[in-house]
């Protein structure tokens, strides 16, 4: 596959990988090709150790490209949800975080809105995960990269996460790393399989 932005027209193509192999000192991910346009959700699915997170890291610029091509639209604004988001013991409320990270363009789901007044270090793991997910979704990003967004979430929280991600769909492209096929199916995501090297 060759990355060709013109095929999508109107600057809709946000990301293109052509046989991309990512890693650090040595290659870790298998060759991966995909295109992601605005309005699309793509799921990277595969077992632990398949190199899914490393591929995301290469897109973010923190891992090396060992082979293949990586194309990102010019001036792209990115948001990234890490597999285990940082959570310092600090007196920062959810509301302050949304304001400082310019994530107030959309109204948060009621379940999340209810805990925005609390300190981030006093939220449950699931509540904090939902907050970080919402920060990625409700900002001005063109491309949202989510690494295992269902981590720490019980079934009720997963429902909220599906709602949050679906809300974002029309405005931006979403690339999700997940080993949860059911979750990807509920999002109607186009799935790219990754098999360990």
């Amino acid at each position: 596959m060759t990355c060709d932005a013109s095929r999508h027209g109107g600057g809709a193509l946000l990301l293109c990988l052509d046989e991309l192999v990512a890693g650090y000192d040595r290659p870790l991910s298998p060759p991966c090709s995909l295109e992601l346009a605005r309005g699309e959700i793509v799921g990277l699915h595969g077992p632990n150790g398949a190199g899914k997170s490393t591929l995301l890291a290469a897109i973010l610029g923190s891992a090396r490209r060992h082979a293949g091509a990586l194309w990102l639209a010019a001036g792209l604004r990115l948001r990234h949800l890490a597999q285990n988001p940082q959570r310092p013991q600090a007196p920062v409320s959810g509301r302050e975080l949304l304001a400082w990270l310019d994530a107030r363009a959309l109204t948060p789901p009621p379940r999340l809105a209810a805990c925005l007044g609390r300190r981030i270090d006093r939220l449950s793991g699931g509540e904090y995960q939902l907050l970080c997910l919402w920060i990625c979704i409700a900002g001005d990003a063109d491309l949202v990269l989510l690494d295992e967004p269902t981590n720490h979430l019980d079934q009720t929280h997963v429902d909220v996460a599906v709602e949050e991600i679906t809300t974002a769909r029309e405005r931006r492209g979403v690339l999700i790393v997940s080993h949860d096929r059911v979750f990807l199916r509920r999002l109607d995501a186009r799935v790219v399989e990754m098999v360990p090297r």
Partner: protein
């Protein structure tokens, strides 16, 4: 209100008692609360080196601290380890300078312990200028530093010139701590960075109130320490440090909590 003889010294320390706790909150957020002690040690050594060249401590100290902060930034060092190096280097330099210059150990102790009662209009002016800069910069830097702490890949992924605010904060902290070291003393500067933020991080429900709480504690402890030190004819810095330690420990003792200063940083 202090006697007019002590009015300028009192006013010279006042802006620092507000600014240092605010910087302490941000340093604690970055897990760099040891910065105050590291930068203060180097500022003390640089102040002493400046004195040996007939330069006032309040000018020599910032030069050393700013140089150290720049080296730290350029070398990419982060976290408390970088400041532990500064403590050791600063301590050795201070004592060696004192032993090998005409200044003598008494003057070295004066730099380390601060000379607040001898502060003049020059110290007051510098403290005010640093405080105004700090109060203008802190609200602008806070969202960026919080974002860098919680979403460390954000800046790199979006190709933002993050070095500007990281270096800007490092220099601001270095400058404020150095001026405070030369004016209030090494341990008093460290205590004003470390303890109000230690309390605020436990008590405040959000960042805005943590800022008010930390600055309020700094201000109240400073005013009280100044009054007690004058009335009881005590050195200022140890009184301030003792007061802050009591303020930090008291609520935990009153609530029957186990007091573990090392716990949670």
């Amino acid at each position: 209100m202090p006697d007019h003889l002590f009015l300028i010294p009192f006013l010279a320390g006042l802006p620092l008692a507000v600014l240092l706790p605010l910087l302490g909150n941000l340093l604690r957020l970055r897990d760099e609360w040891l910065a105050a002690l590291g930068l203060a040690h180097l500022a003390g050594a640089a102040g002493l080196a400046g004195l040996s060249l007939h330069l006032p401590a309040v000018l020599g100290a910032p030069l050393g601290a700013v140089l150290a902060a720049t080296i730290k930034f350029l070398s990419g060092a982060r976290g408390n380890s970088a400041f532990a190096w500064m403590i050791l280097a600063g301590w050795a330099a201070t004592l060696l300078l004192a032993a090998n210059s005409g200044l003598g150990e008494a003057l070295a102790h004066a730099v380390v312990e601060g000379q607040l009662y001898f502060a003049s209009a020059r110290e007051l002016g510098i403290a005010l200028a640093v405080c105004v800069c700090g109060l203008l910069l802190v609200p602008r830097l806070t969202p960026r530093l919080v974002r860098a702490r919680l979403f460390p890949l954000y800046e790199r992924a979006n190709r933002l010139p993050a070095w500007r605010w990281h270096l800007g904060f490092d220099l601001l902290a270095a400058l404020a701590i150095a001026v405070a070291t030369a004016t209030l003393g090494l341990m008093a500067a460290f205590a004003l960075v470390f303890l109000p933020s230690w309390i605020a991080f436990r008590r405040a429900p959000d960042w805005r109130r943590a800022a008010w709480l930390a600055a309020g504690i700094g201000l109240a402890a400073y005013g009280l320490a100044f009054a007690i030190a004058l009335r009881l004819d005590q050195p200022f810095a140890p009184v301030l440090v003792a007061l802050l330690v009591v303020l930090a420990a008291l609520p935990r003792v009153r609530h029957g909590e186990r007091f573990e200063p090392g716990n949670r940083g």
